[in-house]
Amino acid sequence: MSKVRLSFLLPLLAFAVLALFGAIALYSTLLGSRDPAQLPSVLVGKPAPQTTLPRLRQQDHNNENSVTLTEFRGQPLLVNFFASWCAPCRVEAPALEMISKNIAIFGIAYKDRSEDTAEFLQQFGNPFQAIGMDIDGRNGIRWGVYGVPETYLLDRDGVVVLRHAGPITRGIIDNTIMPALEDLGS
């Protein structure tokens, strides 16, 4: 009978193990050290795709017609895909503003019209060094953008170090982006 009794305990034990895993995963999500939005990217460790885009005209800024990624070589760079039509992009605006003091940010307006992008920047602030217009989203495909907002961290040589899908928050900056940036030695 004791063997029978033991087999009746098995489901409970199996469940306990599963629940423990779930609890750990949830706990680390709560702490911010794990983020389900952080999807694996094939780009990590590889040079960022060549990117030349029409430049969004802004006052007191560069008057060139286009902007390329290579302009930013020699310093770590954040590449941020955003759009005026995307609600989470509004959410991440303050966080981007904050981190723009530490690192240059190249904004790529994804499937957006210049008027709308300009209005968005006026409303929510402009943390970007330059903004490229990816009007048909083809550039996004090359980068493998999952959805806006999405952010990539590039090192001095333009190699992708990190990818974050979803809005940037204070927790993401402190726990993910800043440590990676410190590893790059800036």
Binding site: F8, L12, F21, L26, T29, R34, P40, W85, D116
Partner: protein, 671 residues
Amino acid sequence: MIAEFGHFALITAFILSLAQSVVPLFGAARRNIAMMLVAPAAAISVTLAVILSFSALVWGFITSDFSLALVANHSHSTKPMIYKISGTWGNHEGSLLLWILILVIYGGLMALGGRTMPIALKARILAIQGMVSASFLAFSLFTSNPFQRLSTIPLDGKGLNPILQDPGLAIHPPMLYLGYVGLSMAFAFAVAALITGEVDRMWAKWMRPWVIAAWCALTCGIALGSWWAYYELGWGGWWFWDPVENASLMPWLAATALLHSAIVVEKRGQLKSWTVLLAIMAFSLSLVGTFIVRSGLLTSVHSFASDPARGVFVLMILLFAVGIPLALYAWRGPKLFTTADFTLTSREGALIANNMLLIVATAIVLLGTFYPLGLELVTGARITVGPPYFDATFNPVMAILMMIMAIGPVMAWRRGRTTRLQPVMICALAGGAIACIALLSFEARFGIGPLAALGLIGWLSAGIGADIWLQLRPTKSANFSARLKRLPRDVIGMWVAHFGIVIFMLGAVGDSLFNSEQVVRANPGDVIRIADRNITFTGIQQVQGPNYQAVAAQLEYRDEAGNLFAVLRPEKRIYSAERQTTTEAAIRPTLRGDDYAVLGDGDAQIGYTLRLYYKPLISWIWGGAALMAVGGLVAVFGRQRTVRRQNAAITGVAVSDTHMAAPPLSRGGKG
């Protein structure tokens, strides 16, 4: 005001459900009838209160009351009325309330029905049901209040995700929840049985209709979800092994196993503890299915915005709802243990094999869904598990299951064989062989996979056909209709449901083997050829919808002789409120196959991208699922009839011949 009223009704429901979960349990333990009778009264009151509360929320959506945070975030004044209403459950808070509504309606039905059940059993079942409702009412009230007001009232709402504005999606969640939540009845039966430590055949007989009903709804819900993905996402596929889809498939697999093991309990009084465990598992999996994607544990394209704080609450509920019953099972389960009194080659043996295979399949899906999570916790690596894994593991298990499906129903209970076993096996073998030969003569290039699939379809359909013929063919003593009348409706339901699987398989195999696909960049006037049809792209039109603007391509389909037989207009829609673009595939569904067209990017200079498919037999997938559900319904309602007839028959003559070869039911039970 109405919203506050709804909120108040929800609070009332919570307090009443606490009473429902505590008082009857005490009453049942002390044999106090008055306390036990609290259960049905409380269950009906809770149902009424939640109906009021849900109606208040729907009213808020109908009248576009943007002072409600939920309405402001998920609705828009320009939205068509049906989507305003369906917007009620197109978000976390509202869908949770719908979930609760269905849960308490099941409880209310149980309270109203079940007149032949012993009062103590009914009181315990309703008490367990009350505990589940109380947990989720608390979840709703404390973490996801749908009646939250805004201090500043916006002029218009933020709209609903346009991809969710779709008739299929309006009815998909209610259907799916009907299935998920229906399994809570089986769960309540199981826990009540563990409390008393008693399971008899009547217990299974009372439980089985609930399981079948839930299973039917779940089947329809999953099929609707897959149909929605097929025509709305515009990828031409119908199943993606996405975590959300897997989460609905797992309870379905467990419920299917439960459905079959409960037969053994009802007819033979065996497999009691296993059936109890299955009932607990099925409901646990449906809890996981509804809530895991909202807890922030898994990533999915379908998921609502996840919130880890809610995840903690969900995990707590899961811990109690699964942990306590399993602890109870470890303690009381051995009392339900029976030693097997049958051989492997019996009906019971076949049903056990069915259960084992379904549980293995569930484990495969569970592993594929949660392994990435586990791996990430251990090594930090992030991977995704895709169709190749499931094709290689899930499909072979299902293939073995289909083999047993043809011969299991013609095996005899306990041991030995029926006279039907041999002819059915011969027919099934012949059917399988003919299907394989037909496929090979048609096209020799197919590998072992398609060949096996076709062979199985032949095997199963011939097996079912032979069984039907042997049981219904006119004999000296009875003609066709007389024999049909004498047959229990369960058997007819089983045939229909099993045949639904044949139809489903035909659809799935047809689509994967003979699917043709073309992606072209075309200018107006171009002709594209696909699967014996010439498609002329005649041009682009602007379309103005109620809350969107669209460009539509016009495609004229002509057959070999040049006759126009269809015009398809795939669209690309731009929803102004959300500034979101969706592609609307144009589909011409026929029994032989679907023409499926999607309009991609492009303009007048460079041409337009068109994705054109011809998908043979694909609509049979959903037809098969519908047949399975119909089979379930026939079994449920047929059972009611059979029971009534049995009660009416004073003589007590056995209703059927070989199918009721099991010893007759012991009437009365305890009560």
